[in-house]
């Protein structure tokens, strides 16, 4: 895979300034500022209801902001809607294409709206649906449907791709197949902006990530930066025996936070204690000592390198999604 180097551009692929959008009593987007460079793969990461879809649909021209600046490829939807529609590619969350049409016919329909672009043949090969070309859309699996959606996003040879949760609801194998495809778009020189609530997806694909929650951006950077900003080398999770009781586990957490060497913070989630630590070899023996002294029964103990999920938990006290 050759790394694409973008020619110097006078404008960013996307610029949002103080974006606001409310529905009735919900502030879906509450003052968002964002800049995505040409050639970048950028991820909007956040839980369901964080305002990701509203934000991306405003960028796609499908939704109107209440206030704020939206510039896509240096253009605005107010003045240059027709030109923008020709230059961007879109994959919406959960679009169902007509079930009675074949894969080939569906791509052909969308292809007919654009003056230039790749052949249907090329698109089918690119998304690995050549053997399904005459199959009805209604017969496709979830992964195949998502790949069809990607082929349709590419019909106009777009400079900028918006992908809203491209892998939600797919099995791990289909997801990996889509990741390869999306990584391919980026190396073809396209700018990709995607939303996801899978931190693994963001870490895998994105040059930079914005973490959004309740319509606001709470962190921005490369996945590496965000994780290292956490200041933690390791995360320790201890599942405690149920009979310890909720009140007692909170008390134990207090003792752990005070007594374990190098503990940055300690959280309780159900019957699990979660510690972010700088050095595992210092903190782990000390943690075990404290737990033994407090007579806490350990059901399970795990450690892992921190992920964007831990970043999100550290920033909001909540998980990206409830599993």
């Amino acid at each position: 895979m050759t790394q694409f180097t973008a020619p110097p551009s006078p404008f960013p692929a996307l610029r949002l300034r103080d974006l606001h959008k409310s529905y009735k009593d919900v502030r879906a987007v509450d003052g968002l500022d964002l800049e995505v460079a040409i050639g970048e793969c950028f991820g909007l990461l956040g839980p369901n209801g964080a305002g990701k879809t509203t934000t991306i649909e405003i960028c796609e021209g499908l939704n109107q902001p209440d206030a704020g600046v939206v510039e896509v490829l240096g253009l605005t939807w107010v003045k240059n809607a027709d030109q923008l529609r020709r230059r961007i590619g879109v994959s919406l969350q959960e679009t169902q294409f007509a079930e009675k049409l074949t894969v080939e016919e569906t791509i052909g329909l969308f292809r007919s709206f654009y003056g230039t672009g790749p052949t249907i043949e090329k698109l089918l090969t690119q998304v690995q649906l050549a053997d399904k070309r005459r199959g009805r859309v209604g017969q496709l699996s979830g992964g195949q449907r998502q790949r069809l959606a990607l082929a349709i996003a590419l019909v106009g040879e777009p400079e900028l791709l918006f992908l809203d949760e491209p892998t939600t609801g797919l099995d791990p194998q289909s997801r990996r197949q889509l990741w390869e495809l999306i990584a391919g778009f980026r190396s073809e020189g396209r700018t990709v902006i995607l939303t996801t609530h899978y931190m693994e997806e963001a870490e895998r694909l994105c040059d930079r990530v914005a973490i959004v929650d309740r319509g606001r951006m709470i962190a921005l950077g490369t996945p590496r930066e965000l994780i290292s900003d956490l200041g933690a080398e390791q995360v320790i999770e201890v599942a405690v025996a149920e009979d310890n009781g909720a009140a007692q586990i909170v008390a134990v957490a207090g003792v752990v936070q005070a007594g374990v060497a190098g503990a940055l913070d300690t959280r309780v989630e159900g019957s699990v204690l979660s510690l972010r630590v700088e050095r595992l070899h210092q903190s782990l023996p000390s943690l075990l000592d404290v737990l033994r002294r407090e007579r806490v029964q350990i059901e399970e103990l795990r450690t892992h390198a921190p992920t964007l999920e831990d970043v999100f938990v550290a920033l909001t006290g909540r998980h990206l999604r409830d599993e």
Partner: protein, 349 residues
């Protein structure tokens, strides 16, 4: 992709055909159902000559044999002789005879149930025949000229009505459902993110409908002509043009009904609401002139009334295009208003 203009519009129209013909139910309702309906109604209301009257003759009285011979010699009657009053009463009761003649030497009595329409009518005809046979003369000479022309039967009146109703149904349902379904599946939103011309999208439904219409009108008309000998006195071209403008007007109403609803249920209620008054008022099954004069202007303004009137004028009276100009104008106004309004109100999300 192609050197022909408007590849997007052409691709959209092609999709309409594919979706329609891959939906067996749609094909049934548009092509098969109206033919079944016309067959049923055509048979039920077929025109028949007046039936012969079944008459019973009380033979046990032995009086007026001369009149019995006259009655039996008249082909309008089927005469049954009864030798005893019990069997005669039985035949009268179960309707095998419409009335019983009880002759006496100088008078005749009829026995009948006057609540039976065939009995009352039969009495008049039997009495007339007997009086003549007994020597009554007519003070004025009268005669009938029988006109049993193609074009004045119920089926001739009905078929253009059914054709109009079918064009309304296929026009309104045809585009409406497909659009609401696409909205529900977020396909409309996805299309709105492409450079597709939005009026092309709506127009594709109307244009596809025009092609399907040739088949629809053709099949109903062919059936009517072959099975019932329904006349087509005007030119076929005029008939198609009237059908086309009518179909477009209903297509426009279908687009309007589908402009905003997010669910099939919502759209279906709205479409029925649009169609119901026309089913009742527009003179599909009986003449719209039976409604009171106050609401006639309203009835005349309905698109189905205009279409059915124009179809009847062309088929039954051989009207020219100019002859149905007023009706076509009504339809054109409905088309223009509904299409413009639909495009304005249309919800793409």
């Amino acid at each position: 992709m192609s050197s022909l203009p408007r590849p997007g519009l052409r691709a959209l129209i092609l999709v309409r055909f594919r979706e329609f013909f891959r939906e067996p139910e749609a094909v049934f309702w548009v092509y098969v159902f109206p033919i079944l309906l016309a067959t049923g109604l055509g048979i039920a209301f077929r025109s028949q000559p007046a039936e012969r009257v079944a008459v019973g003759w009380a033979e046990w009285t032995t009086a007026r044999r001369d009149l019995l011979a006259a009655l039996e010699g008249d082909s309008s009657f089927v005469v049954t002789r009864f030798a005893d009053s019990t069997s005669a009463a039985g035949a009268l009761r179960n309707g095998r005879v419409a009335l019983l003649v009880l002759p006496a030497t100088d008078s005749i009595r009829y026995r009948l149930d006057d609540t039976r329409p065939e009995a009352a009518a039969g009495r008049l005809r039997v009495d007339d025949a007997l009086q003549r046979a007994a020597g009554r003369g007519d003070p004025v000479a009268t005669g009938s000229q029988i006109v049993r022309e193609r074009g004045s039967r119920y089926i001739d009146f009905l078929l253009p009505g059914l054709l109009g109703m079918n064009l309304m149904g296929s026009g309104i349902w045809g585009s409406g459902f497909a659009i609401v379904d696409a909205r529900k599946k977020k396909l409309l939103k996805r299309l709105a993110a492409t450079p597709m011309s939005r009026s092309d999208y709506l127009a594709s439904f109307l244009l596809a409908q025009l092609v399907l219409l040739v088949l629809e009108v053709g099949s109903i008309l062919t059936f009517g002509v072959l099975a019932f000998g329904v006349p087509v006195r005007g030119s076929l071209g005029t008939l198609l043009l009237v059908s086309a403008i009518g179909s477009l007007a209903f297509g426009g109403l279908g687009l309007l009904a589908a402009a905003r609803p997010r669910t099939i249920e919502g759209a279906s209620g709205l479409m029925n609401f649009i169609m119901l008054p026309m089913w009742v008022l527009s003179g599909v099954f009986f003449s719209a002139s039976r409604f009171p004069g106050v609401i006639q202007p309203l009835i005349r303004a309905l698109p189905l009334t205009a279409l059915v009137d124009a179809l009847r004028a062309v088929m039954l009276e051989g009207a020219s295009l100019a002859g149905v100009g007023a009706e076509l104008l009504v339809l054109a106004v409905w088309l223009a208003l509904s299409f413009a309004l639909a495009l304005r109100l249309f919800r793409w999300q």
